[in-house]
Subunit: 274 residues, 2 copies
DNA sequence: ATATGCATGTCGCAC
DNA sequence: GTGCGACGTGCATAT
């Protein structure tokens, strides 16, 4: 989970490779050409028009915007309002052409599959900068295991249609069962929840719980391993023990909790401690 | 369709309100606070970490990124690669807090509905700029009427299920029928295509075509007005003449043409000139 | 390679 | 306000 790059703390923050305020288009051309050819990040603020042709066609009359060209070839044109770029090009196999015409600086981005192109034509530039952004940090989007359990308790149908909750954190011989219930056919179900990719230990743990329940209830008991994913070799284990896997998306769980309004939920769980 | 703002050509391009290269966090704080409170555009490049909590949760460890805060309250955090922002806040009812802590500049964006917040914490800043972007230009995304007709000819089901093409640009007394065919029940159908919002003239023209066909064929004839939209008062006219409206999205049409590969399509139409 | 489903989707439009 | 569909959706995953 550690995501610090080696030397990240010891290296000083990068300086901009270039910053020009109100340059001429030809001065800006050099910066733009260098930045794009060396796969740096290019940042341009200026008055420009934009034409797009490909999956559709579009025309944007002159106005002052922020344009970003990234190292991977993605291009963004942002107006003064709006979350979304008004024009763009997703990164990938994108070819750029930087050209200084009479009084304009043109940046063209072209890609195949789908075939489309964007041309940004600057008639004046307020600010241009070439940047060498150092960013190797990890981005993590998550819900905690507790969050995922709460989501399942709130919406048991996340596991399967017709699942009815009996209890949670149920004490059995080997430990605590995350979620316990019955399926639509009346069979007992033991659920083991894992926040991330489930390993062998999860399957083994689940198998033990099931044995514990079976020995007491003397009924058919299903076991469901609910996690975002399972390790490859766990699949065999599931088959061996007759267990099932249910993919559970932590982001989806997080969204469900949001919708249920965490505050009220917390009260509910405080008042009903398993 | 003209979209030039009054005075747009006579006013000089805006100058950046502020541009600071490698400022201290406290210097940057002033710029950020001013820009946000006056609903300007704020542009920051620097080493930052980002935390998001709301519909989901996310954590982004320190790295150098581009951060934009727009006049409408939208916030974007862009890494060195990728079309999409790694973190963001859509514009609208967003409240910002700018705070200079010991050695960091924090920018927090908070909104309700859905309840979520993003905090960007800068530990160093390469470049910060407050901008007053003048941009009143119109953005138009379109397919030509010819494109829309080609799309309908390629995919008649755009009009309705079971529509069979008979001909196009068919000559009748008052002029040319855009598209002519039969519906799934064998009734004749006359289609009038408009690239933009259809006015009364479109409905009247369509009605004339239908009369012309009826007088010759002596069969039931349906009339469909296909366009992105119809003017409010046209609705009454449609009812009066027993005409129908079918919404036709020019962007969708443009995409259909793309998929059909324009080149081959052009050949086809050249070889089959109505 | 294409087909399918999800997204912190966002956004616009009808009800 | 709320729900529904479209998007130059983008993007990942499964086939």
């Amino acid at each position: 989970m550690s995501s610090k790059a080696i030397g990240e703390d010891t290296l000083p923050t990068s300086k901009p490779l270039a910053v020009l305020v109100e340059p001429s288009v030809s001065e800006a051309e050099n910066v733009a050409r260098e930045a794009i050819s060396h796969h740096r990040t290019l940042l341009v603020v200026g008055k420009c028009s934009v034409d797009y042709a490909g999956r559709a066609k579009s025309k944007l009359e002159p106005g002052e915007r922020i344009v970003i060209v990234k190292a991977d070839g993605s291009l963004l044109v942002h107006r003064s309002i709006g979350y979304e770029p008004v024009n763009w090009m997703p990164g990938g196999n994108v070819i750029f052409h930087v050209q200084c015409r009479e009084y304009t600086l043109d940046i063209r981005a072209i890609r195949q599959k789908p075939s489309e192109s964007v041309r940004v034509s600057f008639e004046s530039i307020q600010l241009i900068s070439a940047l060498s952004l150092v960013d190797v940090a990890e981005f993590s989007l998550y819900a905690s295991e507790e969050d995922m359990q709460k989501a399942v308790l709130l919406k048991p149908e996340l596991l399967e249609e017709g699942f009815k909750l009996i209890s949670w954190e149920k004490k059995v011989e080997p430990g605590f069962i995350d979620v316990y219930g019955v399926d639509k056919d009346g069979r007992l179900v033991v659920v083991e929840i894992k926040r991330k990719t489930a390993g062998k230990d999860s399957a083994l743990q689940l198998a033990k719980y099931i044995e514990a329940i079976k020995s007491k209830a003397d009924r058919e008991v299903r076991g469901i391993l609910a996690s975002p994913n399972i390790a490859k070799d766990v699949q065999r284990l599931l088959v061996t023990f007759g267990l099932e896997f249910k993919r559970l998306d932590p982001r989806k769980c997080a969204e469900i909790l949001r919708r249920a309004e965490n505050k009220k939920l917390a009260e509910y769980f405080d008042e009903n401690p398993s």
